[in-house]
Symmetry: C2
Subunit: 301 residues, 2 copies
């Protein structure tokens, strides 16, 4: 994709040299039975993709390099890795659609926990564990943390009982368990349920920065853009309770490097948290209190 065109078309508006009806003809080919939303989204996609090609005078060679890269992403993807998603992530797209979706759903007011991207390492089948469990197995170079908090109703402030808090984090070597044959299945992952006081609690690692996988097309893009693959230290979580809008988010260690240049652009100031010393606990030297606020489904309409 580094091909520099040898020639430039005359005039200041180079794009005027191309068939002025082409894009409209492609859009007009959409049939009457396409859904209104499909017509809206795909018309816009065609217009933007064509404008992108014309404005940059994209060559067949460059376009084909892009096709090869996307096909490569598809081939690399499986139930443990979504490389197409990661390609979007390093271009900021997942973070942007997350913001859009969050605002569309009417959740963007002060009382709700801010959302952040799901990322490519979520697993639907994480084990359900009792509160006070330790999700850390076989890691001896990490800082053990006691993380706890309450899930509350955004409207009433009352505790939400029996909510699911699904958490996952990378190990100190920068790998999630599905990337690492040396970790036990579902290491550093677990689903907890809030008790009668709306409280959850478990032991985890203080997270550490890590690179997104850069052995595929997302890594190739980062290399070509002279960018690093690092993400700031974070814990992923999803909180779900019937009758409430689910929240997908990440919380970031406020002392981590890469907060300003996250390779997937997911950091928001409202998601920074402080890990503080914990005394008198044999299992952990640090603690993190983190409350989650859920919006009832009936509000925000």
């Amino acid at each position: 994709m580094s091909h520099q065109p040898a020639f430039h078309l005359q005039g200041t508006d180079n794009t005027a040299a191309f068939d002025p009806h082409f894009t409209q003809n492609v859009i007009k080919a959409i049939g009457p039975k396409a859904s209104p939303r499909m017509r809206e989204v795909m018309s816009s996609l065609i217009q933007h993709v064509h404008d992108f090609a014309r404005e940059n005078k994209l060559t067949v060679e460059e376009w084909m390099a892009g096709v090869d890269l996307l096909n490569w992403a598809g081939k690399m993807s499986d139930d443990k890795r979504n490389e197409g998603q990661l390609v979007c992530d390093v271009l900021g797209l997942e973070s942007l659609v997350d913001e859009i979706t969050f605002k569309l759903a009417g959740e963007a007011h002060d009382t709700a926990t801010a959302s952040a991207i799901l990322g490519p390492f979520f697993r639907h089948d994480a084990p359900e564990l009792p509160n006070e469990s330790n999700i850390v197995h076989g890691v001896d170079d990490g800082e053990m943390t006691y993380m706890y908090g309450h899930v509350r109703d955004a409207k009433t402030g009352k505790p939400v009982v029996n909510a699911t808090v699904d958490v996952w984090e990378a190990s100190t070597n920068g790998l999630y368990e599905q990337q690492d044959d040396n970790q036990v299945d579902c290491n550093l992952r677990g689903k907890f349920r809030t008790d009668e006081n709306g409280r959850y609690a478990y032991y985890c690692l203080r997270p550490t920065p890590y690179p997104v996988p850069n052995d595929g097309p997302a890594g190739k893009i980062l290399e070509l853009l002279d960018r690093h693959p690092m993400r700031p230290a974070h814990i992923h979580l999803i909180a779900i309770k019937e009758g409430y809008k689910p929240v997908t988010t990440q919380i970031f260690d406020s002392k981590s490097p890469y907060l300003e240049d996250d390779s997937v652009f997911a950091v928001k100031s409202s998601l920074l948290v402080d890990f503080v010393p914990l005394e008198g606990n044999a299992q952990a030297k640090l603690q993190l209190e983190y409350d989650i606020t859920l919006i009832p489904n009936e509000s925000g309409v």
Copy 2:
């Protein structure tokens, strides 16, 4: 991707509701060692993709449907099928970058043979055959055609000797040989060399309309857009000779249906040809004379 957002943001410019610095921050992350062309193309891609997401208020669900579709395309692709390319083709992108590349290369003057898209069915390893060969094997319901012509120098009009004319076409069942286990390897495909008069000649089928493969994501897009998958009848060809710019094109039967609504938008009026009756030839009832004009490399600078 048929999800209709339930809520709309206030104001006429919905996109103003989102972080106004987000896209610039993603673009600014490009490092100093990225090549100028990479910076130009990727900055524009990021801007267009983000604008597309904001303008359509793209949801996480819709975006993820797109990621799934692209991953699916990658998984389907192999050395016999390029589904990522076909996805681009049904959105008109290959035809557009072909036009752009052709014009950039300075080939867009009257004397040169017009280009058209390569398409996903080209094979690098087609057999080289002597002139007057028949590329049709095991097809008994087609109209045999004697195709011939001269390759000429666009500047001098003189014949180009020893040029390669690489041709391929679908069978009467609408399938290229690599899609069809019932066809012999490299059926309806061949490379010919022009003789001392710059002439090539071979026997082929009068092409017939066929659908692009619609068992994958490109077919899914066509279905969602309420479009048919048909292509007008055509023969692909590439003409190559050292010292000249290569030409990749398709020629279309001027009597074919779907000339006005080619599913991959490749038809140009300059590429329409007439199949006419041929008498006194036991091998073919039709003939097609088609001359190809190549531009010397040194011109057009």
